[in-house]
Symmetry: none
Subunit: 158 residues, 2 copies
Amino acid sequence: MVELIFIFKEWLYNFVKEGVLMQLYNTSQYAIRVLNFIANHSDNRLYSAKELSEVLNIPYKFLTKIMGILVKTGFISSIQGREGGYELNKPASEIKLIDILNTFNDDTDNESCILGIGICDSLNKCALHDQWMEPKSLMRKMFEETTLNNLTCKDCKL
Amino acid sequence: MVELIFIFKEWLYNFVKEGVLMQLYNTSQYAIRVLNFIANHSDNRLYSAKELSEVLNIPYKFLTKIMGILVKTGFISSIQGREGGYELNKPASEIKLIDILNTFNDDTDNESCILGIGICDSLNKCALHDQWMEPKSLMRKMFEETTLNNLTCKDCKL
DNA sequence: TTCAATTACTACTTAAAGGTAGAATTTAAA
DNA sequence: TTTAAATTCTACCTTTAAGTAGTAATTGAA
Ligand code: SF4
Ligand code: SF4
């Protein structure tokens, strides 16, 4: 019941309006959460799409689509059939956030940027360039240096 | 009960809108560039949609749609008819980037964030929270503190 | 007055992300 | 062997940002 009340509170908030600023694709968010969940429960067992969908509250059918991509791109391997599921294909310390984002075309290249005016370099900059460089580089640093084993966090939302 | 909660979560899901990508909407980019162009050429004349479209390389028909919004939201005023055009409605120093973004639903509230998991506060955080706070706050600071008169930049791309 | 340049309005189309449906395939437990 | 639980595959639907089209209304200049 407590959980229901919390969910309802959440619904009220989101129903009114959920705006976003500089946000990742849903797909990228889901992928990070899935991979991180598996990484931080790595007790050598398989995780089924059904379990992941319920625990992480990601639509089942959309999740299975994402899992297929994660398998093909080598982040995870899958065991088919009854009692099957997914497991990490490499150590959590080798999975960088930037790799996950690139998989889902969350643009991380330097060519297109905050004002999106063609190719950018120090000689060819837009009016926001100087202000944007510091936040941008910190953000890139985070995505490039954070691996799944940096995200071990008890009691964090899943 | 667990089943009921899961069903409720699935149902709730339909009402939750989630994010875009780690960049601004095209519309926001265009709006910033248009307003900044007018602001940094403020020699008391009007700028027509045709001129703005050509100089800034923004599709004419899309631009006029955006201009209509900027007029209604009070950023600019328009003079109709032959020799008409647009001009800033208030000093460049009073137009913050964050206000432009909010106009086009590049929303900036703190509730939804990088992993997009419901309501966020210090007690209820996601696995990326600690890493994300610094880049995020710098980014917000930039949008909140930068006004159009901070963007006067010779030879910058338009 | 006429006309051309302009904004304003309504409606439509396109592209891409987000999400769903259903059935085939695999596999281990019963 | 049968069956249920699981992945995989193809195709489709929905939503929203992005962009286009056409026309009415406005207005100063010729
Ligand atoms: S901030 Fe710099 S790199 Fe980004 S769009 Fe502007 S000029 Fe290009
Ligand atoms: S980084 Fe913090 S504020 Fe952002 S989604 Fe995660 S918990 Fe919420």
